[in-house]
Amino acid sequence: MDAKQMRKNKWQTTIFLILIILITYLSSFITNFNLIESIATIPAAFSWIFSNLLITEESLQKLPQILEKLGETIFMSIAATTLAAVVSLFLAIMGSKTTKVNQTFSVIARFIASFSRNIPVVAWSLILLISFGQNSVTGFLALFVATVGFLTRAFIESVDEANQSSVEALTATGATYFHMISKAVIPQSLPQMLSWILFMIETNIRSATLVGILTGTGIGYMFDLYYKNMNYNLVALITFTIIIAVIAIELVSNKIRRVIL
């Protein structure tokens, strides 16, 4: 690279930076976003958080009820994830290049996966809310559908990565298609699949809160209820229990992952 080239590169970087600053300024102008003003509100916001979001003794009395709802939410997420995993396994085997039965099924499986994946879980809960009403089935289904989309995608990759040589060997012994799937493909991709399922359980517990706010179920509903009643002490307690639960589950699943991989 000669000096001329270097100077040119330097100029390009400068122009690029100026461009980004211009775009940022323009967007904040359009959206009436004032950076200085918002920074100025930060101290006030924090002082509000620390004076209102306090866990008081009074709110602690509600703890058993909160824990019950939290348990409900966690178990719903686990149930939705595991059921979705079973469906995804079938779709993934249909959809994978290496194990597909025929092209049509493969395309259908991939279509179902990308369709349910590309609609966010929030949209799913709102759509299902209209058709199923406000109950825990709606929340369950919303998580289920979004999880099927994601897990199918992840499972297809795990199946594709599985070594094809043992499949060839089993074919040579006269094994049937299902022998190959159950004894050569699944044993090889199982650890990865379990890892994805654990990841999805974690994610779903987090999204279950949001889904709950929308569909009026589980811990999300409680959060929404006390939030709207301006009972910020309970909101703080609920938030705290959710954080503890998510961290605990993450620790447990990390431990499981270390054992299986």
């Binding site: 043992s166 060997a169 094994a175 022998h179 090889q188």
Partner: protein, 254 residues
């Protein structure tokens, strides 16, 4: 009647590249036959046409009096139970135990449900341990396959082929990924399989020296055509040169 008869076998990929051209040969029961030739000569394809892991384009493969090319799914399964196969990269399921991998050889005899649930009879399990004992790896029976050395994994592969009770064993470069010591062990086992158990072996090999030492008959393959077929003692320098091309002569004599 010969065990295996290959008549005018041709195979091409993408309708153009001809991998095998009009290959003819017969194999008698109990023979130890070696197929030699440079990489890309079509050795692997030839083996895979015999148990139809690769579809046959032209010509016939007749095994035990039955036309392999015309077989339906069920007959094909039946055929494959009679033909064991050993691979260069052993092709075991790495995360499963040795004994599980050996028992995979019985799938050809199982219904789908039996196989998926892993229902094997006591007799089959005893046979699996007997074979592991025979190949000297019985102490590894409960280890995962990815913990074994290459030579040990290949012996598991041999066990898996033998438990099928095959009439013919196809070996696709069984020693190409092994060190000289393990190679000798594996070749000795293959030889004893053919002499003691009377199982026919067709072994693809790179190494002419090994082929000459072990095989009773050698087929030389060059660009998909048979250029030599005869007793191994009749394979001289000139024919070897013809099979591999002059430029690689130094490689062969090593």
């Amino acid at each position: 009647m010969s065990l295996l008869k290959v008549e005018g076998l041709s195979k091409f990929y993408d309708g153009e590249t001809k991998v095998l051209k009009d290959v003819d040969f017969e194999v008698e029961a109990g023979e130890f036959l070696s197929v030699i030739g440079p990489s890309g000569a079509g050795k692997s394809t030839l083996l895979r046409c015999i148990n139809r892991l690769v579809e046959i384009n032209e010509g016939k493969v007749i095994f035990n009096g039955l036309d392999v090319g015309a077989m339906k799914k069920k007959e094909l399964r039946q055929l494959r139970t009679n033909i064991g196969m050993i691979f260069q990269h052993y092709n075991l399921v790495p995360r499963l135990t040795v004994i599980e991998n050996v028992l995979h050889g019985r799938f050809g005899y199982k219904s789908t449900i039996q196989g998926v649930l892993g229902r094997f009879t006591e007799q089959e399990k005893e046979q699996a341990f007997y074979l592991l004992e025979k190949l000297g790896i019985s102490e590894h029976a409960y280890k995962r396959c990815d913990q074994l050395s290459g030579g040990q994994q290949q012996r598991v592969g041999i066990c898996r082929a033998l438990i099928q009770e095959p009439k013919l064993i196809l070996c696709d470069e069984p020693i190409a990924s092994l060190d000289p010591n393990s190679s000798k062990v594996i070749m000795d086992y293959l030889k004893s399989i053919s002499t003691e158990m009377g199982i026919t072996c067709i072994v693809n090999l790179h190494q002419v020296e090994v082929a000459k030492e072990y095989a009773s008959r050698i087929i030389g393959l060059k660009k998909g055509e048979i250029v030599f077929d005869g007793p191994s003692k009749l394979l001289y320098g000139e024919q070897i040169e013809n099979i591999y091309g002059i430029e690689s002569r130094e490689l062969i004599t090593v």
